[in-house]
Amino acid sequence: MADEISTRVDRLELPFDARGVDEYGVSKWHLAVAFRVLTLLYRKYFHVRADGLQHVPPRGRAMLVGNHSGGIALDAAMVIASCFLELDPPRLAQGMAEKFLNRFPFASMWTARCGQLTGLPEHALRLLESDRLLLVFPEGARGTAKLWKDRFSLVDFGTGFMRLALRTRSPIVPFAFIGGGDAVPTVTNLYKVGKLIGVPYLPVTPWLLPVPRPVPLSVHFCEPLRFEGTGEEDDEIIQRSVDQVKERIAGMIERSRK
């Protein structure tokens, strides 16, 4: 497996320098280590199934937009693994990491070295303009905070991603992620305790800690959506486009959960 991972890291079409570092600080060495762990989880622990991968552009700018489920961002890690392991050539999906991660030792370093930059509009814009593959969860932290009973539902989507897609003329590839809520079935969230340790909330599962159990997960990519505009449109117009993306994801969740 180690050889396969190294080969795939080498095949990533990113402008690494001679030390294997790109202009955003993404490091081949760190990617290889991280993907060894993620591959084990992807293939041996969760047995992730991915379909619709032909809809992810092999190169050039694009925005993967999907639903959150499960108390931690397991979905992001598995989608990133999916694009790395299943696409040919492999692609690095770059997510927008929660701001609190950058305050923690090791989390700050590993997210940065693996291309998961802090969730700022500036980062999203720059990555798209660099023709990268951006991974976006418009539900934000409210999405990972969903309880088990709400695992197939969607909370409100932010609209920033749509303005960015229009401004950068990036295709949006909606996807549905299924199983996160079963892997980490949140029964409640401890917001005050979370605040004390510097995170938005602490999810509580029937076994207390948010340690995921080995349930099958799946990710389903839909056909890309392209929207016309400048990104400066009124909120109502933007909201209509956001709703289209949301409906596409909701539909895919319904079809895939059965």
Partner: protein, 317 residues
């Protein structure tokens, strides 16, 4: 062109002066530190930029252009002295420039203007305000000097002003903030953090300043060369060993046990990156760097092998 360089005694300023001489310009320098062995054609005035004698230099020579390089970094002097030199000095340079008919002024500032923090964007553009001053008040005087210089853009329309926010420099001279930090055998790091550092070869930096002077660029520009690198990679390329320590331990040890001196606020600068987008400068001036990031780190390592002797040059600034 007759060019006056306040702060000509600094290593970078000397390199700028040599390049201007080679291009046939007349160079005059002001610096209380002097410049032993300065090339003959340079007229040198070892005076304080804030004193009357410095104004006399402006009056007597009537330079057409000024490159203001007489600012110092946070590590060198106490707060009051820094404020006097950085803000008081900058004010004097602009006032004299206006009074004595200078047409072109280049202010050489630093990219640390933007500050380092967990919520800051990775690449800073010129439109961003400084951040995290609350955690690193030692930067306030440099930020104030930068803002003062920038307001000349509307306050003194007849003076073509260019404010440069230049990234760290590194090279065989061993001069500069980053070189000072890398000088020892061990490079202290905050455990669990490995920020990108943006730096360029000192020769490229001098070229960039000369290019700015000869261009029609008017405004504020970030200046950088090749891509940034994580601090651990720079340490390794420079033949040093990274020494990751928990933040609390590091805060106690800096300046001791052979580790470089660092103020508490500066710890943020080895936790979080300060990287700049220099696209505007390149577009406006056509500047292109000659040294990539790895070559630059190695030129420093060749000149200062780990455990080798200290630089004979003044402390970093």
């Amino acid at each position: 062109m007759k060019v006056l360089i306040p702060g000509i005694g600094g290593l970078l300023a000397r390199n700028v002066a040599r390049r201007l001489l080679a291009q046939g310009h007349t160079v005059i320098g002001i610096d209380p530190r002097g410049w032993p062995g300065a090339p003959d054609p340079i007229e040198l005035y070892p005076v304080d930029i804030r004193k009357r004698a410095a104004e006399d230099v402006f009056r007597q020579h009537r330079p057409e252009a000024v490159i203001h390089m007489a600012t110092i970094s946070a590590l060198l002097a106490d707060a009051e002295e820094r404020y006097r030199i950085n803000l008081g000095g900058t004010r004097a340079v602009f006032e004299h420039s206006e009074r004595y008919g200078v047409r072109r002024l280049v202010f050489v500032g630093r990219h640390t203007y933007y500050g380092a923090g967990p919520d800051a964007p990775l690449y800073h553009t010129e439109t961003e305000p400084p951040q995290e001053l609350g955690t690193y008040p030692e930067l306030a005087d440099l930020v104030a000097a930068d803002l003062y210089a920038a307001n000349a853009l509307w306050r003194l329309p007849a003076l073509q002003t260019t404010v440069l926010r230049i990234c760290y420099t590194l090279g065989p001279s061993g001069h500069g903030t980053l070189a000072g930090f890398l000088r020892g055998r061990f490079v202290p790091m905050v455990l669990g953090f490995d920020p990108l550092f943006h730096f360029m070869h000192e020769d490229d930096a001098a070229d960039a300043i000369v290019t700015a002077l000869s261009s029609s660029a008017r405004g504020i520009y970030n200046v950088a060369g090749p891509q940034p690198l994580p601090l651990s990679v720079i340490a390794s390329e420079a033949g040093r060993r990274a020494l990751p320590l928990p933040e609390t331990v590091l805060a106690l040890l800096v300046g001791r046990a052979g580790l470089p001196r660092l103020s508490r606020g500066a710890l943020a600068h080895i936790k979080y990156p300060i990287v700049v987008d220099a696209t505007s400068f390149r577009k406006e001036t056509g500047f292109a760097h000659r040294f990539d990031e790895l070559t630059t780190a190695r030129t420093f390592a060749d000149a200062f092998p780990a455990g080798g002797r200290s630089s004979p040059l003044p402390a970093p600034g």
